[in-house]
Symmetry: C2
Subunit: 185 residues, 2 copies
DNA sequence: GTCTATAGTTTGATAGAC
DNA sequence: GTCTATCAAACTATAGAC
């Protein structure tokens, strides 16, 4: 399908030159078309961004669903954090699209953002099913902590492990704050 | 001085329309000049960004220097975090400029970035002077935590207090992780 | 120092032939 | 669906008169 090829080309350009450098001509060149032809498949440039965003969150949602959580609440929180951290540090363009507001004038459609909401709420449900009572504030602190590690990793050590190495410690710190029981006494 | 008026106009435009929307015409219009005239005062548009960045970090450095830290290490960490958090949530355009890489092709000059480095290292020194031994990893975790709270605040509750309210708890959590003594037993 | 004029690009988007 | 041709607009930056 043409839509699929166009989106693949868009990802390739975004990865090579940055998300902000994405242009219709650049996409069209790579896919062997002329820029106006893209309008037969997408309503606008923002529609392409939106499709990319929706696909990204859908892929993340899919990945979270394939993850089996450990029974231990402490280990479960760590697994979830690692899943998000790895996904967010795999691809800068994707991270910018999903987690940063880097494109002026672009607001995601409700449909494209839905899997993002689903991914978070499903994870919260699964953690609660393990017997952990988490409040909204607990969740907010968690997202800030994991998101902060991701951002620092990208900003100050892209491709490295300087903040990735801190993830387990951060999760321990967080679990302690929730008064979760320790495995290894 | 003309330079100062231009920078003030640039800030005004950035606050109203976003940092990415900054144009030479927009700045010139506001200051009552024509766009090319700006080149008598700044070498390029990036030079304007750079001057804004330098001024921002210099202002932050100045503010940190006026802050008196409590003797208690735990309270000191909290004070530092609050100082940064407040500064970073006061002005979105400034935050984007200082802490995000939102302008394509713009890299800060060494001179403009120097006060940023100074602010961090001075704070670390002052904390160490209180008797707290902090490693590089400790600092990395700290910056990720505070920066993560700031980003979440801007992204999901701009102008609100949803993550601001979590700052004290986050600092307690962090201080616990450092095994700092509690004040109130 | 400030202006007019303009170069030189690049962009998203549309019209209409095929 | 894809193309050529083009629009209309925006931008940074430079040249040169005053």
């Amino acid at each position: 399908m043409a839509r699929r090829k166009i989106l693949e080309a868009a990802w390739a350009v975004a990865r090579e030159q940055g998300l902000a450098a994405l242009t219709l001509r650049g996409i069209a060149d790579r896919v062997g078309m002329k820029a106006p032809s893209l309008y037969s498949h997408f309503e606008s440039k923002h529609a392409i961004y939106d499709a990319m965003l929706g696909a990204s969150w859908t892929e993340f949602l899919k990945r979270t669903r394939t993850v089996t959580l450990p029974d231990s609440p402490r280990a479960a929180l760590s697994t979830i954090a690692r899943t998000f951290f790895d996904f967010a540090t795999e691809d800068l363009a994707r991270h910018q699209l999903m987690n940063l507001r880097t494109i002026p004038g672009f607001t995601p459609s409700e449909a494209s953002y839905a899997p993002a909401v689903a991914a978070l709420s499903e994870m919260v449900e699964r953690v609660r099913a393990l017997g952990v009572e988490v409040s909204d504030a607990d969740i907010d602190l968690y997202t800030a902590l994991v998101g902060g590690l991701v951002d620092q990793q990208w900003a100050n050590d892209p491709g490295g492990t300087r903040w990735a190495r801190l993830l387990d410690r951060a999760m321990d710190m967080y679990a302690d704050n929730l008064d979760l029981p320790r495995e290894d006494p």
